[in-house]
């Protein structure tokens, strides 16, 4: 675990703050002085996991860099809902160019800052799973391979939500999207090989790769803080449930992220130079059913009859993660 857990303080380190904790032990989000990098009035849907994850991550980076940072944003929900001309919700130096070139633009910003001798200014690039795992993937791989001094954060909501929920390479098997309807003998997204970008990033043997979710704020903040201080190419992959695309209640966003991690479907870990260094253990193991059942995109697995066969395959994926990352010590 990337932070020291506090024991017996009623809620320990599970809640955002807690009046019983020392100021130093509280999260950035618990402070009134947080940057609110993504401020109110943005046009994200009710209960948007990406808006939440982005504020968590950017506020942590602002805190870690002493507010000396530049953000490059790929196209996607995050960019569209935050910056309809001429308004912006960003309270950080922020720029947007194209859907697929955010890693390359960030590399350029980092090079420019190096030329100007401003080594204290940190460069962060961010995007959704579409801009990261599909469209921007070539630029991202190049950025990793060159070990450019950029922290790339991907907010993974598992489809192209902004344009109407089309499948991306991060969409999980069996999920219904606009382009993978729940029809025919194998409804929903097909059971392929999967494309888990954190492991691809690890294959580049960059200094730091981590996964996180909006269900564990302290873990996310600790990882962003550490990554902000490191030099070279760094990658953080944050799971951000999407109430609209997943077909879930807006109040279930954090619960879904929690169930994804507690079932083992989304492993939370850190890797340094290509090797897994730490994994966050599962605290209350749940079957994948509990995660799937809350989402309309998986409704065809439960209605009209329970598709035990496909659910078993998804459970096997979770079990493989649990074994591979030793999530049940």
């Amino acid at each position: 675990m990337s932070f020291q857990p506090v024991r017996f303080y009623q809620t320990g380190t599970y809640t955002v703050g807690n009046r019983l904790l020392d100021e130093a032990q509280r999260t950035v989000q618990a402070t009134v002085a947080r940057a609110n990098s993504l401020t109110s009035g943005h046009r994200a849907c009710q209960g948007c996991g990406e808006a939440l994850g982005a504020r968590y991550a950017m506020d942590a980076a602002m805190h870690a860099s002493d507010r000396q940072m530049v953000v490059v944003n790929a196209t996607g929900c995050l960019e569209v809902f935050s910056t309809p001309y001429p308004e912006t919700s960003w309270q950080v130096p922020w720029m947007h160019s194209l859907f697929g070139n955010a890693p390359a633009v960030a590399t350029g910003v980092a090079a420019a800052l190096r030329v100007k001798g401003r080594r204290n200014v940190r460069v962060i690039a961010q995007g959704g799973d579409g801009g990261t795992t599909d469209i921007g993937f070539g630029c991202l791989s190049g950025m990793f391979e060159r070990n450019d001094d950029v922290l790339y954060i991907c907010y993974d909501n598992q489809a192209y939500m902004n344009t109407g929920v089309q499948r991306s390479s991060a969409t999980p098997a069996a999920a219904r999207t606009a382009t993978t309807p729940a029809k025919g003998p194998a409804p929903g997204n097909e059971f392929g090989q999967g494309k888990f970008l954190p492991e691809i990033a690890m294959a580049h043997r960059i200094p730091y790769v981590a996964t996180a979710s909006v269900a564990d704020l302290r873990d996310l903040e600790a990882k962003v803080e550490e990554a902000t201080h490191l030099r070279g190419a760094r990658y953080i992959h944050v799971l951000v449930p999407c109430p609209l695309g997943w077909g879930a209640a807006s109040s279930d966003t954090i619960r879904l992220a929690r169930l994804a991690t507690e079932s083992g479907l989304f492993p939370i870990f850190e890797a340094r130079f290509g090797e897994v260094s730490e994994a966050r253990p599962i605290r209350r193991l749940v079957p994948v059913n509990e995660f799937l059942r809350l989402q309309k995109r998986f409704a065809h697995l439960f209605e009209p009859t329970i598709d035990t066969e496909r659910i078993a395959v998804i459970q096997a994926q979770a079990d493989r993660n649990i074994k591979r990352y030793a999530l049940l010590p």
Binding site: F8, T11, Q46, P86
Partner: protein, 545 residues
């Protein structure tokens, strides 16, 4: 006009976009009634005082506690803590050891000599309290805090009532009891000992009192019909406990039978063991699960070697003599759970038999009160604790209710509030009852796994020979730990979760002790704050559209 190419508008902030207009439900902070508070016979605000204890502010915690109960060091020891039976934490790991924290606060108050706050002004009214047991002392305390002059008249030589003459020392050390009674006296309450009130109305009128609260308890032991019993060594439980308290050593012998299944039976049997009886046998008509005595005490008695004969009644007391023979008849439970005789008899030898069959009320002092209503030999009172005679209130064991110290303390508090209203000629203020904070409302993910702290018990050999206190208290560290196990059901404890999890940055943090506020300009009504509130203190209320 210096705008870049193709730009015609000045940059603006999204703060101009009031997304609150999307909302169909708004979060609303609520305070729900924690199940512990609901379960407390004294109506303590348990969650409220644990809140202060959690941050180590023990005096503040004690001050909240004594708003309802003036004797926490006593109740922390002898109350059967229905609060813990109701505690939501029991469904997570184990209930918060509320009684242990209460006892810690009570002991700390005695150690630090904390005193009650004096009333801001005196009312000029005088109230007579008859009986210095838990309910009389509680009424006196609450009346004194409300500014009335109170005189307590006690027939016995010492104050405390059943707390002194019914509960043995090993459960309630007398220095603790004395300290808490003394503190009530220091508030300005006069306690006159050895002053029996023979005629209530006469005493009230002669003393110039404006109202009276009667709480003389139930001291007349019930007798079972045990033939030839008069000559045999047959005693009643209360006089055994009473003589032990007064320093006498009742001659019980080596083998003692106790007949009854209540807490008094257990107390007598355990006392007999301490007085040197090699065997103390409790004879009870039904089975352990049907025993009115509390299971924790049954267990402690078993640990001390007290024996039990279930499904048995005493039938015939044998010839008088040094060595007694008693006949026991075996019973069987019928389909309604009532014990029925089986006709099977058994002889059992014993030196003495103690009857613990409950107590009746001596109502003689109320002979001059007109229009009094009785129920089963007890005084009927209305929901305001007032008898059928205006201005005469009653409580404790002499009115129909469960007979425990905590219930009695609760009667005293309730009666005091209604006496106050009656004296002022106003109708009593009835606080609005909040809905109960049920387990289902909690998001238990956020609470640290923390099993209950265990209170040390005295080793067995000392429990068989001395009257030292059996169960010890918690030290400051464990008390703090235990207080922090409280889930704060239904009441905000400022964990900052709502402030953190709002994707729209629409929760305003107001600072320590001031909780939070929703910024309705931007709240989209997603409900994440309510879903992720650990203690269920946020409710989504539909907007009128």
């Amino acid at each position: 006009m210096d705008k870049p190419f193709a730009i015609t508008l000045d940059p603006g902030s999204s703060l101009a976009n009031h997304t609150g207009s999307w909302r169909t439900a708004r979060p609303s902070y609520v305070d729900h009634l924690p199940p512990c508070n609901q379960g407390c016979p004294t109506g303590e605000n348990i969650q409220g005082w644990l809140y202060h204890a959690e941050s180590g502010q023990y005096e503040a915690a004690w001050r909240v506690l004594v708003q309802d109960n003036p004797m926490p060091a006593v109740t922390g020891r002898v109350c059967y803590h229905p609060c813990e039976g109701a505690c939501n934490r029991a469904r997570l790991d184990s209930a918060v050891s509320i009684h242990a924290v209460e006892r810690f606060l009570g002991d700390e108050a005695i150690k630090q000599n904390w005193q009650f706050a004096r009333p801001p002004a005196m009312s000029g009214k005088r109230v007579l309290v008859v009986g210095a047991g838990p309910s009389g002392l509680s009424a006196a305390y609450h009346l004194a805090r409300l500014g009335h002059a109170v005189e307590v008249r006690e027939a016995g030589p010492m104050a405390g009532g059943m707390m002194r003459f019914g509960i043995p020392k090993y459960r309630l050390p007398r220095d603790v009891l004395d300290a808490e009674i003394r503190r009530i006296e220091q508030l300005g309450v006069t306690i006159r000992l050895n002053t029996k009130v023979e005629h209530l109305l006469k005493a009230r009128d002669e003393g110039g009192f404006d109202a009276a609260f009667v709480a003389v308890g139930a001291h007349v032991s019930k007798r079972a019909w045990v033939p030839a019993g008069e000559a045999a060594r047959i005693m009643d439980a209360l006089s055994v406990l009473r003589s032990v308290e007064l320093g006498e050593k009742p001659l019980l012998g080596r083998r003692v039978l106790v007949y009854g299944g209540g807490n008094t039976a257990i107390d007598v049997a355990r006392t007999a063991r301490r007085l040197g009886a090699e065997e103390a046998v409790i004879i009870y008509r039904r089975t352990r699960d049907r025993m009115p005595a509390h299971d924790s005490e049954v267990q402690e008695a078993l640990d001390e070697g007290v024996m039990f004969r279930w499904l048995s009644t005493i039938k015939i007391g044998a010839d008088a003599g040094a060595h007694e023979q008693f006949t026991i008849e075996k019973m069987a439970l019928d389909e309604n759970g009532f014990p029925q005789p089986t006709g099977e008899f058994e002889q059992i030898e014993a030196d003495s038999l103690v009857l613990a069959l409950g107590q009746d009320v001596d109502l003689s002092l109320l002979d001059d009160v007109p229009g009094l209503q009785l129920t089963d030999g007890m005084v009927s009172v209305d929901s305001n604790m007032m008898t059928a005679c205006p201005g005469i209130f009653a409580g404790g064991d002499m009115v129909p209710a469960e007979r425990t110290v905590t219930v009695a303390l609760g009667h005293g508090k309730k009666a005091a509030r209604h006496i106050d209203s009656w004296l002022r000629g106003v109708s009593p203020a009835v606080a609005e009852k909040h809905p109960v904070a049920t387990f289902e409302r909690l998001n238990t993910w956020y609470y640290t796994d923390a099993p209950r702290s265990v209170q040390q018990e005295l080793e067995r050999v000392r429990r068989e020979s001395t009257f030292d206190e059996v169960v010890s208290g918690l030290n400051a560290d464990t008390a703090l730990f235990e207080a922090r196990r409280c889930l704060s059901c239904g009441n905000c404890f400022e964990c900052d979760n709502c402030y953190g999890v709002c994707p729209d940055n629409a929760v305003i943090k107001l600072g320590p002790g001031k909780r939070f506020k929703i910024n309705l300009d931007y709240c989209k009504g997603c409900g994440l704050c309510a879903a992720e509130c650990p203690c269920g203190a946020i409710e989504m209320v539909p907007e009128t559209i």
